[in-house]
Amino acid sequence: MTGLLLIILSSVFFPGIILRIKSIASGRKGPGIMQPVKDIIVLFRKNNVFSDTSSLIFQIAPAVGLTAVLCSSLLIPFADKPALINFDSDFVYFSYILALGKFFMIIAALDTGSGFEGMGANREALFSMITEPAFFILLGTFSMLTGYTSFSDIFTQFYMSDSDFVMIFSLIGVYILIQIAMIENSRFPVDDPKTHLELTMIHEVMILDNSGFDKALIHITTYLKFAVYGSLIYNISVPAGWNIYLQLLLFAVVQALFASTVGILESFRARNRMRKNPDFILTLTAISIVAFVVVIIIRGKMI
């Protein structure tokens, strides 16, 4: 239960911190940290415009997307208490339910009959397809290291193995998860959320026709997804056995650090050429295979 509340809490502050860091890095003062939340509240008050090409799919897709992320956040543990729902190989369910959210976003984009949204839809489908093997191989590496297959068990047992090598996995895991989080939420270097050129966008262009309540739901979904990945990164980097109050403090610190890293990476990095994106995403798979090879060496199967 704590995990879920913490995820929701951190999703409130997350986008604000990213925005603030980006502004400071550009030399401006920037909006306040609660600005995105205020934007969402404004969106809830606005009226809606719907395209007459669209159908029921368009009306129901934001709700499905939000529910998918909420259900996936039920699987993430915090500290050494198991998550609300945990079972064997639950990361398979995690990945697939996020894919369900993506499916509906893609068909909602195709529903409007607009060329722009089709562009974003097809890119989103391709990139999420290439990202999945990296996630699965990474989690396969973890389950091979710890001997368990559920999120709660993996994170509890993670730091109880040989303390020398675990740091490698921790670092590689954090690196890959940060990249996956940035790809899944369509931020740099795969996509630029602030560009106004539809030819270069992925996620932003899929939601061009949403307005009002739906747009608010979609923004909440994006922020929550970020917080879910941030929570995963926290679980990998901090041992689960430490004092609970220390953990709460560290959670806030790690999330703030993650948000700042994202902000700094966005400010100083250029977007990839769209053609280079599959190569970029496949590199993550290659790195997770390197991690897998390291586990094999550690487990003594090679030497």
Binding site: M167, D279, L282, T283, T285, I303
Partner: protein
């Protein structure tokens, strides 16, 4: 400690396969030089001070400083900044690299020997395949040069895998490095000042 460095080395080899800009190649070669110094330092524990100085000068100074500097000079002079003529796109060369990583693990596992350090053997095979892939799929001579330097790194690690108890063998291997490197770089660096066309024509 060695394991961190080995993992970093493998990741740098993976990036070698993906990248398309020559500046990144020279940076990666510099990083590889530094990592090799770290590995030698940590691995060879019974070194006399002159061997250590020799190794340090070879890896740190030569591989990490001199070679990238000369590469950058060549790049600037000939205005070759990006790899324009690649037979495989980055996606497929990356798939080839992953397959070569798996193949090198199988080969190292099959050729297991109590006197060979299997981890280094694997990394050496992997780097070997990466260098070969770079040479085979690129068209310009300067890419072949870089591929050759990667092959030199791989033979360095091979000698590390075998020569844990034989320091003289390592010294001879290092000498070969310097000899080959100086020869090639000097030859190309001095002789081919002019434009890019001669570099690509030289291949035909």
């Amino acid at each position: 400690m060695i394991n961190y460095l080995t993992v970093l080395f493998s990741i740098s080899v993976v990036y070698l396969a993906v990248t398309e800009r020559y500046r990144v190649y020279s940076r990666l070669l510099a990083i590889q030089g530094i990592i090799l110094f770290g590995i030698t330092f940590a691995e060879l524990t019974d070194l006399k001070w002159y061997t250590l100085l020799f190794v340090a000068s070879e890896t740190l100074i030569f591989k990490a400083l001199v070679v990238p500097y000369m590469l950058n000079r060549i790049i600037l002079r000939t205005n070759v900044f990006k790899v324009h003529t690649n037979a495989l796109s980055g996606f497929y060369s990356l798939i080839l690299i992953i397959l070569s990583l798996l193949a090198s693990i199988f080969m190292a596992n099959t050729l297991k020997n109590p006197q060979i350090n299997t981890v280094f053997f694997t990394i050496a095979f992997f780097t070997l395949f990466a260098g070969l892939i770079i040479i085979v799929t690129h068209k310009l001579i300067i890419s072949h040069l870089i591929g050759f330097l990667v092959l030199e790194n791989s033979s360095f690690i091979f000698s590390m895998a075998v020569g844990n108890e034989m320091p003289m063998l390592i010294n001879i291997g290092i000498l070969l490095d310097i000899f080959v490197g100086v020869l090639i770089l000097g030859f190309f660096g001095m002789k081919l000042k002019p434009n890019i066309n001669e570099l690509s024509l030289l291949k035909d």
